[in-house]
């Protein structure tokens, strides 16, 4: 789907009153919107490259807290969830329990409501009062500069990091397209747990859509002999351990993680483990849409991490030197 189709798909999920309030806004606002936020009883809000905006329902908008902005009702939020799930909420139960819904072939909407738990696990989510509809951007060429810088002399283990809305998923989709197409034709496997990367186009590419990352990575390695595996949003220590385990098998990884700055690479456990394993060659910081990315050398970050923590005996997920050696041997080209 192109950007206009993505936007149309997102708008189609909204109740008529709210859709109208957005459609009447100036085109440059509508087309650059990245998120539509609905909260029962609170003003409708849009987020994009322009920051925040509150539509007034008559084609105008405000950046301050508004008086006239349409306020979604609980009923309208429920209708939106219905539309996002194609009127089949039950078929998205697992996603809802994980806090999101995938709609229109790969776009994601966050949902928040009242969770029912059993044995510490979320069993159902009801009374959904907040929905954040994200509008994906498929930008062919988004990763062109990055690919030239990072992959021109061969595949490298790479971590993309940035704050939410910095374009990590967009970049990852384009990297998948570039690496799996002419002239590279690498065997690309995509462990797409949240179904956000399945819109990526490419020639030599296999999608493990909806598989938990651990399984997606394992199945890809067992049966598809990929040159490189792409994963979006490595978030848990379990995911991280699986990647570290797979790195020892010689396959390359391109990952994305939530991390707001270079400094946070050393403070977030998952990011720190990726730095400290010594296997990642490049760490790419995405500062936000339209801004140039920064590329850090993995070896330099690794040395810094060792200086900062290891000499003081503070270890992360990477437990010991022997393990680090294995990762380093398997990962660094």
């Amino acid at each position: 789907m192109n950007e206009n189709e993505n936007l149309s798909a997102a708008l189609a999920c909204l109740p008529e009153r709210l859709r109208r309030a957005i459609v009447l806004l100036p085109t440059e606002i509508v087309e650059t919107t990245l998120e539509i936020r609905l909260r029962a009883g609170l003003p409708l809000m849009l987020c994009g490259a322009y920051g925040l905006c509150f539509p007034d329902g008559n084609g105008k908008f405000s950046r301050l807290f508004p008086d006239k902005t349409p306020t979604p009702t609980a009923e309208e939020v429920a209708q939106t969830v219905q539309a996002l799930t194609d009127h089949s909420v039950y078929s998205h139960t697992d996603e809802l329990n994980s806090g999101y819904v995938t709609y229109a072939d790969g776009m994601r909407a966050g949902v928040a409501g009242r969770a029912g738990t059993q044995d510490g696990r979320i069993r159902s989510v009801r009374e959904i009062r907040s929905v954040n509809i994200r509008i994906a951007k498929n930008v062919d060429g988004a990763a062109k500069y990055l690919s030239r810088k990072v992959f021109s002399d061969g595949l490298k283990n790479t971590v993309l990091f940035g704050a939410p809305l910095s374009g990590k998923t967009t970049m990852l989709k384009d990297i998948a397209r570039i690496l799996s197409s002419y002239p590279y034709y690498y065997r690309v496997a995509v462990a797409d747990e949240r179904r956000e990367l399945s819109a990526a186009r490419g020639v030599n590419i296999d999608f493990f859509t909806g598989y938990p990352k651990k399984d997606g990575i394992e199945f890809a390695m067992r049966s598809f002999s990929p040159d490189v595996i792409l994963c979006d949003e490595l978030g848990t220590e379990e995911d991280c351990r699986e990647v570290l385990r797979a790195l020892g098998c010689g396959v390359r990884f391109v990952l994305s993680v939530h991390c707001g700055s270079r400094r946070e690479l050393f403070t977030r456990p998952v990011c720190r483990a990726l730095v400290e394993c010594g296997a990642f060659d490049r760490f790419v910081f995405l500062p936000g849409v339209g801004k140039e990315c920064e590329i850090f050398d993995g070896k330099e970050l690794y040395d810094e991490a060792v200086r900062l923590y290891h000499d003081r005996g503070v270890l992360s997920l990477v437990r010991n030197d022997a393990q680090r050696q294995v990762f380093t041997a398997g990962g660094v080209s």
């Binding site: 219905q82 799930t85 194609d86 009127h87 089949s88 909420v89 039950y90 078929s91 139960t93 809802l96 159902s124 989510v125 009801r126």
Partner: protein, 130 residues
């Protein structure tokens, strides 16, 4: 009774597809059109339109109350998670089973009456002749 049997079978099929395959309603409609005699000629693009087209039309030998159970069942589908869908299917099935049971009892009563009718008629003729 044939209608109720077919409706029960239809609900069983829907429950399986929804709970085991997590089939969304639109693709479920495609399955139902090919596998259920009741839904074979369902008109309409969406599941809800197709369902209404089948069960809102009057049919000979089908009670209004039974059709209403099915219409309400169709309208409430898709709003809840899997547990909710299972509960809806079970509730509709229970009500249709009760209706089926009633229909069977009525049929047996009429069948008994039907068997006694010639006896009564014969007795009436004899009385008249006397």
């Amino acid at each position: 009774m044939e209608f109720l049997d077919a409706a029960l079978e239809l609900i069983g099929l829907m429950e399986t597809r929804m709970t085991c395959f997590l089939e969304p309603l639109d693709s479920l409609l495609r399955v139902l059109r090919s596998e259920s005699p009741l839904m074979k000629n369902a008109a309409g693009d969406s599941f809800f339109a197709a369902w209404r087209s089948v069960f809102s039309a009057e049919r000979s030998g089908v009670r209004e109350s039974d059709r209403r159970i099915l219409l309400a069942f169709g309208d409430s589908l898709g709003d809840t998670d899997i547990d909710g869908q299972k509960a809806l299917c079970e509730s509709a099935r229970e009500r249709l089973r009760a209706a089926l049971e009633n229909a069977r009892e009525e049929k047996q009563r009429f069948a008994r009456l039907g068997a006694l009718l010639p006896v009564f008629a014969g007795a009436a003729v004899i009385i008249l002749l006397i």
